[in-house]
Structure formats: C-alpha cells, structure tokens
Amino acid sequence: MSKAKKIVLIGHFGVGKTSLIRRFVENTFTKDYKVTIGVHISKKEVEITDEASITLVIWDLEGLDDISKIRTSYLLGTHGFIYVFDLSRPATYENLDTELQYLKNNYPNVPTKVVGNKMDLVNKAFIKQNSAIFDPHVDFFVSAKLGSRVETLFSKLAEALI
C-alpha cells in the first residue's frame, strides 16, 4: 500500500500549472487555455525504488498574482509545493523572492520545487542573461508542451517526501 502525499501547485494564472499536471499524469498537452476555477485534483503513483512507491495527490489551484491571497485552508496539510512561473512572462517571476519567502515563513518544513515553465519559448542565452534572478531559486526549467524534465520534477519532489 503506497503512502499518499498532498502536492500543491501554485503560481500566477496562465503559467502552465494545469498543463504540467496533465503532462505528468496523462502525458498529454493542449494549446487550449482553460482557466482553473477553485481546485482540481489528480493523482499518480510514482515509483521511488523497486520496493517503494508513493501516491501523489496533486492539487491544482487557480492562479493568483499574490500567493498570500490563496485560501489557507487549501494549503493545510500540504506535503510538497511546486511553485510555477512562466519564463516568457517576467511579471510571473519578478516577485519570486517575496513569494518564496512567504512559503518559507508559513510552511517552513514543506519541500518546495521552483519551476520555470515554457522553456520551449526561450533559449539558453536568455536563461544565462537572467541567471541573477533564476540561479538562487529555480530548481527546474521545464516545458509542459515538449514534456522535457516534467517527470524528473515530480520524481525529485516525491523522493524529497520520503
């Protein structure tokens, strides 16, 4: 019986939280953008080792420009956060420091992965140019569209939850 853990994806609207989950859970991607209203729940079992596995119950929250405005009741009992921003929209990562500090202060022991999504829309030179912003915080640069590094992101978070 694999243990279940609650994972919450947060970030501004339109950064691709739902797309990341769909890529991870169903291995699909669609260009059609549908705003998430309230919460959507998905789940997937992740094998950590040959003998150990973990069931990730993934909460996809509606996007908000300020994470302190998220209903705190939605975040209760969270075992792991994934903070997602859009590499092609600076507005979604310009307050990265403040937003992550808020998470650290309120959920000090909860593992958090910071993810720059839509890697397919930028190039490596862009990442290098903005390394001062990204390097201190970002764990993964991913593309839900191409599926690159999405699996690794969730696997690494699952490992951190054991």
Binding site: A4, K6, I41, V57, S73, Y74, G77
Partner: protein, 270 residues
C-alpha cells in the same frame, strides 16, 4: 410485249410506292430486332458490372458518405433543436413509462414473493411488526426496499484530504480523488461562512447522499444510497461514534492497513 409483260408493267406503275413503303418497314423491323438483340447481348455483359459497382457503392457508403451524413445530421439537429425535442419527447416518454412499469412489476413480484414466503422467519417478525406498528406488511416491505445502505466509507485526514482508510461494497469512485475534492469543497464552504465555527455535514449527489462527520484531526465521509433521513442520520452518527471510540481510532491514524481492516469489520453489514 405479251400479256404477262404488260401486266407486270402495270403492277410496277401501280405498286412502286407500296413496295418502297413495305421495304422501309422491313428495314425498320430489322433495325428494331437488332437493337433488341443487341440490348440483350449488352445487358448480359453490362449487368454484372453494374451489380458489382452497386455492391461496392453500398459497401463504401459508410466511409464515403457517412461523415457527410453525420455532419449534416449534427448540423440539422443543432439548428432545429426544438423540432428534435418535439420528435423525441413522445418516444422518450414511452421509454421511461415502460421502464417504470417494468421496475414496478419487478418490485411487485418481489413483494409478492416475500409475502408468499410463508416459512420465512422474516415474515413471522414482519407480521408481528405489522400488528404492533399498524403498518401493512406491504408497506413494511416497501420500507425495507428503500432502506439506506452504506456504499462507501472513507476516513479522511483534515486539511490534507489524504485517505486514512477506506471500505466500499461496490467501488464507487477513486477514494483519493473523492477525498481530495470533498476536502476542497469542505474547505471552501467552511471558509466562506466565517461567522461561526461550522462544518459541512452533508452533500447530495444524484441518487447518493454523502454524510460527513467531523472529528478533531480527521473526518468520515459515508456514501449512502436509499432513503437517507434524520432517523438514519442519527443512527449513522451514533454508529460512527461507537466505531471511533471502541477502536480508539485516533491512535491508529498512522496505520492504514489496520484501520482499513477495522473499518471493514465494523461496517461490512451496514
């Protein structure tokens, strides 16, 4: 010129037109005969080809014309929804009527079988109950048929919505997803009504009733089918309280396997 020659000469003069006319008719008849014979010959050759083509056409209709017809039908239905409803309404009405008649017949047969079961202990008790309560035996049987039944019971951690234990007689839905969604709904409703410390206690979904009972660190969600009423709600609440106190559930929250076993043992006959 003798007599015969003269006669022939007169014949020639008098009958030339008729002869030409007769010969034209003969030609026409020959042509017609040729056409008729030719058509017969033609059809023996052409008919199999036409039949083959027709067969192929019939076979290809679903592939070639199918999508076009489907699209045209879809468009037509979309454009004339009222007309479609008008057309379908009597048919659907009949179908529903027939279904209900069938179900009523089944119910009636079931009741008759139970009434006729003279050797049943149940009947003996039902008769006694009927006398004591003043309700007819049929009413008591009807009551039995709509008795509430636990379909699924889930123990859910508050806040996280993680499933602590689950038991279901018939697999209703994925317990992790249901638990997550119920927790999200509960959180939203309880957040929205900030005036007092209140808990969401009940959700109705189609033919099912979801009874929610709160404890300090977890809550119990019970999916009930049948007639869920205030009397049953009280009984269910008492039953869940008995279960949690008898098995000291608060101490077992970390042991999903044991908790699931105890949940099944306690509720499998409910």
């Amino acid at each position: 010129m003798n007599q015969d020659e003269k006669l022939n000469r007169i014949k020639d003069i008098l009958l030339t037109d008729e002869r030409a006319y007769t010969s034209a008719i003969e030609d026409k008849i020959k042509q017609l005969e040729a056409i008729v014979n030719e058509r017969k010959k033609l059809s023996t050759k052409v008919d199999p080809i036409i039949d083959e083509k027709l067969d192929a056409f019939i076979k290809e209709i679903p592939e070639t014309l199918g999508p076009t017809i489907t699209e045209a039908l879809k468009q037509e239905i979309k454009n004339s929804q009222d007309a479609v409803v008008e057309a379908l309404f009597p048919i659907l009405g009949q179908m529903i009527k027939r279904y209900i008649q069938h179900e009523m017949k089944m119910l009636s047969e079931k009741i008759n079988t139970q009434l006729n079961n003279t050797f049943s202990f149940k009947r003996f008790f039902r008769k006694a109950k009927s006398k004591a309560s003043g309700l007819s035996e049929s009413d008591l049987i009807l009551q039995e048929q709509s008795n509430p039944k636990i379909e699924q019971i889930i123990l859910i951690e508050k806040g996280s919505g993680i499933v602590l234990a689950e038991f279901s007689k018939t697999k209703m839905a994925d317990e992790d997803m249901v638990a997550g969604m119920l927790t999200a709904i509960k959180s939203f409703v309880e957040d929205a009504f900030t005036k007092e410390e209140q808990n969401l206690q009940y959700i109705e979904y189609d033919l099912y009733h979801i009874h929610l009972q709160n404890f300090p660190s977890f809550y119990v969600a019970v999916v009930v089918s049948g007639a869920y009423n205030i009397i049953y709600k009280d009984q269910l609440e008492d039953n869940i309280l008995t279960f949690t106190s008898k098995h000291k559930i608060a101490d077992l929250l970390d042991n999903k396997t044991l908790l699931t076993q105890k949940l099944e043992d306690h509720f499998k006959h409910e």
